[in-house]
C-alpha cells in the first residue's frame, strides 16, 4: 500500500510539473481511441478510415477544448452514415441535433461522458461510465451518458443493417426502419435505465457521511447494474449474456476502485470525530485524513577533487606508508630505565 501511495504521490508531482504537456497527450490519446473506435465500428467512408486523418483530428483535439472532440466524433459518425446513404446521414444529423437541443444543452460540462460511453462499450466495460459519472460528477451527467448510449446503439444499428440500408428501398421505409431499430430497441432502453439508476445511486451513496462511502457506492453501482440488466433480460425481450454483464460489472468495479484510490485516497482508520459549538450551533464534525506518505528523498553527493589536490593527497597518503617501511626497534619495557632517560633529556634542556 505504501508503495502504491508513493507511486500516486510521484505521479501527482510529475503531473504538477509537466501538466502543460501531459494534458494534451492524454487528450490526444482519448481522441485517437475514440476516432479509431468510430472508424472500427462504422468505417464505411474509406477516406476517413485512415490513420492519418485520425492522427490529424487527434492532434487538433489535443490542443482544443474537449467539446470539440465530441463535435468531431459526431461529425465523423454523420460522415460514415453518408457513405451508407444520404437518408441515413440525414437521420443521424436529426438525431444528434435533437439530442443537443433537448438534452445536451443542459449538461455541456459532462459531454465527455457521451463520447466515453461508446468507448467503454468497445472496451467491454460499459458500467464504468455510470460509476465514474456518479463518483466524479453529479446526477446531471446521466443525460450525457444516456445520450452516449443512444449514439452507441445507433452506430450498432447502422453497422448491423448496413446492407439493408444500402439497398434500393424507399426513403420513408429506410427512415421507418431506422426509427424502429432505435425506438423499439429494448436493450437500449434497458441500458439507459441501468445507467440512470447507477449514476443516481452511486452519487447518493458517495455523498453519504459513512465510512468507505465511495467503495460502497462502487460496489452497489456494479450490483445494481448487474441486477437491472439481468432482470431486464428476464422480463423484457432482451438477450443479455449474463457472464458478459457480470464480467463487465466486475471490471468496472476494479476500475472504479482504482479511480477512488487516485481521486479520493483517504484513511478511514485515522478518522476523528470532533465536537464544538458557537453561539448558535453545536457542530459534530468527522475529519478523515488523506492517505499520504512522505517520500524518501535520495540525495546523491558527488565529491570531485581537483587533479593537483588529488596528487597532493596521494603524496600525503603515501607518507604513512613510507613511515611504515622504516623498521621499528623493539623495546623491552622491563629493561627500560625511564628515570635515566628523563634525566638525559633534562640535561639537554
Amino acid at each position: 500500500m505504501t508503495a502504491l501511495l508513493e507511486l500516486k504521490q510521484k505521479m501527482k508531482n510529475f503531473y504538477g510539473e509537466h501538466d502543460t504537456f501531459i494534458l494534451p497527450v492524454l487528450k490526444f490519446l482519448l481522441a485517437i481511441i475514440t476516432f479509431r473506435g468510430i472508424n472500427a465500428s462504422l468505417g464505411f467512408m474509406h477516406k476517413l478510415d485512415n490513420i492519418f486523418v485520425v492522427l490529424i483530428l487527434s492532434i487538433l483535439c489535443s490542443v482544443l477544448p474537449l467539446n470539440l472532440m465530441v463535435i468531431l466524433g459526431l461529425a465523423l459518425i454523420v460522415a460514415h452514415c453518408y457513405a451508407v446513404g444520404v437518408e441515413v446521414a440525414g437521420f443521424a444529423l436529426l438525431l444528434i441535433l435533437l439530442l443537443m437541443i433537448l438534452f445536451l444543452r443542459f449538461s455541456s460540462k459532462d459531454n465527455l461522458a457521451m463520447i466515453l460511453t461508446p468507448v467503454a462499450f468497445g472496451l467491454r466495460v460499459p458500467a464504468i461510465v455510470p460509476i465514474g459519472c456518479g463518483l466524479l460528477r453529479g446526477p446531471a451527467s446521466a443525460i450525457s451518458a444516456d445520450c452516449g448510449v443512444i449514439i452507441y446503439y445507433f452506430m450498432n444499428l447502422v453497422k448491423e443493417k448496413a446492407s439493408v440500408l444500402k439497398g434500393e428501398t424507399d426513403i420513408m421505409q429506410k427512415l421507418k426502419f431506422l426509427l424502429d431499430g432505435l425506438v423499439k430497441n429494448q436493450n437500449m432502453w434497458l441500458t439507459i435505465l441501468a445507467f440512470t439508476a447507477v449514476i443516481i445511486l452511486v452519487y447518493v451513496i458517495r455523498k453519504m457521511a459513512v465510512d468507505y462511502s465511495w467503495r460502497i457506492a462502487i460496489v452497489v453501482g456494479a450490483v445494481i447494474y448487474i441486477v437491472t440488466m439481468v432482470a431486464g433480460g428476464l422480463f423484457l425481450d432482451v438477450t443479455n449474456e449474463m457472464a458478459a454483464v457480470i464480467i463487465s460489472a466486475v471490471g468496472s468495479c476494479i476500475l472504479g476502485l482504482l479511480l477512488e484510490f487516485f481521486v479520493l485516497g483517504v484513511d478511514y482508520s485515522r478518522s476523528e470525530n470532533l465536537q464544538f459549538e458557537d453561539d448558535e450551533y453545536v457542530y459534530y464534525v468527522k475529519a478523515v485524513p488523506k492517505s499520504l506518505v512522505t517520500q524518501s528523498k535520495r540525495s546523491i553527493k558527488k565529491i570531485q577533487v581537483e587533479p593537483d589536490e588529488r596528487t597532493e593527497r596521494r603524496n600525503v597518503s603515501r607518507e604513512p606508508d613510507e613511515e611504515e617501511d622504516i623498521p621499528l626497534e623493539k623495546v623491552d619495557f622491563s629493561e627500560f630505565d625511564f628515570e635515566e632517560k628523563l634525566e638525559d633529556s633534562l640535561k639537554d634542556l
Partner: protein, 144 residues
C-alpha cells in the same frame, strides 16, 4: 521596482479569469432577470425547432398512413393535439431552463464575489502608488 504583493494579486486574478471566471464572468455582466429572460427566449426558439423536428420524424414515420387516411383525419383534433403537445413541451422546458439558469446565475454571483474583492484590493494598490508618485513629483517641483 517590482511590487511582489501586487504581482501576487494579479496572478490570483488572472488564474481566476482563465479558469472558473471564463464561465462566470460573462454571466456577471447581466442582471438576473435579463439573463434568465434571454435564456428563456433562446429556449423558446430551440424548443420550437426541436418540436418541428420531432413532428417531421413522426410525420415521416407515419407517412404511409397519413397519405392513405388523409381524408378521414379530423384536422381540428390533430391541430389541437399538435398545439397542446407543443405547449406542454414548451412549458416543461421553460421550467427546466428557468431552474437551470437561476442556479447557474446564483453560482456565478457567489463565485465572482471574491474576484471583485481581490480586484478592489488591486485598485487600492494602484491608487496608493499613484498618490505616492504625485507626492514625489510635487516635492521635486518645489525643490526645482
Amino acid at each position: 521596482m517590482l511590487d511582489l504583493e501586487r504581482i501576487r494579486q494579479m496572478t490570483k486574478l488572472a488564474s481566476y479569469e482563465a479558469g472558473e471566471g471564463k464561465t462566470y464572468l460573462p454571466i456577471s455582466k447581466y442582471y438576473r432577470s435579463d439573463f434568465i429572460g434571454l435564456a428563456l427566449i433562446k429556449n423558446f426558439f430551440l424548443v420550437s425547432i426541436g418540436y418541428c423536428m420531432i413532428l417531421a420524424v413522426i410525420a415521416g414515420y407515419n407517412a404511409e398512413y397519413l397519405l392513405n387516411n388523409a381524408h378521414k383525419l379530423n384536422v381540428v383534433t390533430t391541430v389541437i393535439a399538435v398545439v397542446a403537445g407543443y405547449v406542454v413541451l414548451l412549458v416543461l422546458y421553460s421550467i427546466v431552463t428557468y431552474i437551470y439558469t437561476s442556479v447557474k446565475y446564483s453560482r456565478a454571483k457567489k463565485s465572482i464575489q471574491q474576484y471583485y474583492i481581490d480586484l478592489n484590493k488591486l485598485k487600492k494598490m494602484y491608487d496608493r502608488e499613484e498618490k505616492r508618485n504625485i507626492k514625489k513629483n510635487t516635492v521635486r517641483r518645489k525643490r526645482a
